[in-house]
Symmetry: C2
Subunit: 327 residues, 2 copies
């Protein structure tokens, strides 16, 4: 998880670097005590690594109030496992070939293994959460699993509908992304023994950086570089999913909009390029970054009540890093 | 869940009929308070009904010791939801068209909806478990979700291998079937406030009827009537899965066995019929029933420590019913 971090992420992860190492060790050990027949698959999965932002949020949220990170490490492991489980099923649903530069599970072992292995990793995440022994945290976690699948289904059911609007978009990105960030931060705070106002502050922090994180992802999808974002530019639009930039384009040109044409004639890829060109030639991307920054500002505001220290510093840098992310 | 029960099942469900009605109401309400976009799918899913054996086990196990079934009803709902989630994904993996006489989710809405809806129902089951507020029960439940997917993967990885032996078979049917029966009974006992020896007795009861239940399923697959079991006879063998009857056939004829031929030449369906004929013309089916009855006898033995009453009567009838099941 910690390979290849740049200076900024090193700064963010600084106070919880050892804890993150422990999270990695927990992942590596999964399947060793039981289910040895899954070891090759699990090893492949966890070798792949990731940025580890979600577990870092849990660890930092806990560390802001407490020096004892034992329960937060368990929770951070659960959070990362849940994220990984989601990716396995999402890649299966989207028929994606690559993830983090390696073959997806569904591509490598077929969709049946992907479905069942995803289920296994979901369950493993739930089992870790139980070890926190905290009912409030466990319940929030299972609600979050509902949110994640509900959000993906909402996206799927509404794909290629021109009626996807901003309200639906916000609901969807909360469910599919911000909910887990929110729970990651909230659970860290609860397990760190923070008082209720701090728990609320960190819950709000998690929600807001999660919303910003997804908006930036959606900006990169229409304005990024294919090699950098690791998938074709305009992928969402091609899948029939409207995001903030494309919703803005639709709002701006209700008549003769290439998105309407693309949804009506899905094979005509020329409309896709036209839509991307129109977005890139407009102020839409800047406006979207401004909206993402608005969420980050709310995140910064929320954590103003936290005690000063290295954990708070990291949470602040993380909130500013979200909108600087270019891939 | 309660439609079309015969006299025997009516006897079994008698003491918990109202509680089972409450479980059904919980299922119907799912998605109403949130996630309205999933209501059509959830309604379709729960209209399908089922025999409700697993939730009945939870309710009866609780009722054996306690009159307050409020927590057991929540748990029974979780148990049935988990079972349903498993079926959604299993049907997707097996590419099955029908389940309980209705189209499967994957057949009706495609595999993507099936994957994500299965995840949602898994998560909903976990959320119900949390409402029991009992950490021991919650943890057992999440381990059981791991067991279920681990068992399915074990089956998948070993399919078409002639090395599938009795030890592997027992491990697999524990994971994919008995684990949930065991947890259903154990959790009912715990939530009913039973003393530890009764909890252990009911845990053993659940394990044993679960093992018997799967063996009978496997017998029906090679010896039943296609119309009655609702899928083609010999389906397991066709999928490359060895079960108790087919393992027995392999043990009996190590040379020139049609199963070896079938696994080597999967297109030659004649070998399948030959294997089925050999099993049906032998004492294998009786022997398998005897093994299943052995498990049921252990289940009966285990619950001898329970206080006499209608719940115990039902548990006894249920244990004898498992091997009488013909579909």
């Amino acid at each position: 998880m910690l390979q290849g971090l740049d200076t900024k992420t090193n700064q963010i992860y600084g106070p919880v670097k050892e804890d993150l190492g422990q999270v990695e060790a927990n992942l590596r050990d999964l399947g060793k005590s039981r289910d040895e027949h899954l070891l090759p698959h699990l090893t492949y999965l966890f070798e792949r690594g990731g940025k580890g932002i979600r577990p870092a949020v849990t660890l930092l949220a806990s560390r802001a109030y407490s020096k004892d990170s034992s329960k937060a490490i368990i929770m951070a492991t659960a959070v990362e496992l849940l994220h990984i489980a989601t990716l396995i099923h999402d890649d299966t649903v989207d028929n994606s070939a690559l993830r983090r530069g390696k073959e997806t599970i569904s591509n490598r072992w077929g969709q049946n293994v992907a479905i069942l292995l995803g289920d296994y990793v979901f369950a493993a995440s739930a089992t870790f959460v139980c070890d926190t022994q905290n009912i409030r945290v466990i319940r929030r976690f299972s609600e979050t699993i509902m949110d994640l699948s509900s959000g993906q289904l909402l996206e799927y059911f509404n794909s290629h509908s021109i009626e996807q609007n901003r309200k639906l978009y916000e609901e969807r990105i909360y469910l599919k992304t911000a909910s887990l960030f929110q729970t990651a931060a909230e659970a860290g705070a609860i397990l760190g023994g923070a008082p209720e106002d701090v728990v609320q502050a960190l819950t709000s922090y998690g929600y807001n950086i999660g919303m910003a994180f997804q908006i930036v992802d959606d900006i990169l999808d229409v304005g990024g570089d294919a090699a950098e974002i690791g998938k074709p530019v305009g992928n969402d639009l091609l899948q029939g999913v409207l995001t903030l930039p494309t919703i803005k384009l639709l709002e701006r040109y209700s008549e003769g909009n290439p998105i309407r044409e693309l949804f009506a004639n899905r094979e005509e890829k020329g409309y896709l390029q036209k839509a991307l060109d129109m977005i890139q030639g407009s102020t839409i991307i800047e406006e979207c970054y401004a909206e993402a920054e608005g969420y980050c500002a709310k995140a910064q505001e929320a954590i103003a009540v936290l005690p000063e220290g290295p954990a708070l510093d990291s949470l602040r840098i993380l909130a500013s890093y979200v909108t600087e992310r270019r891939r």
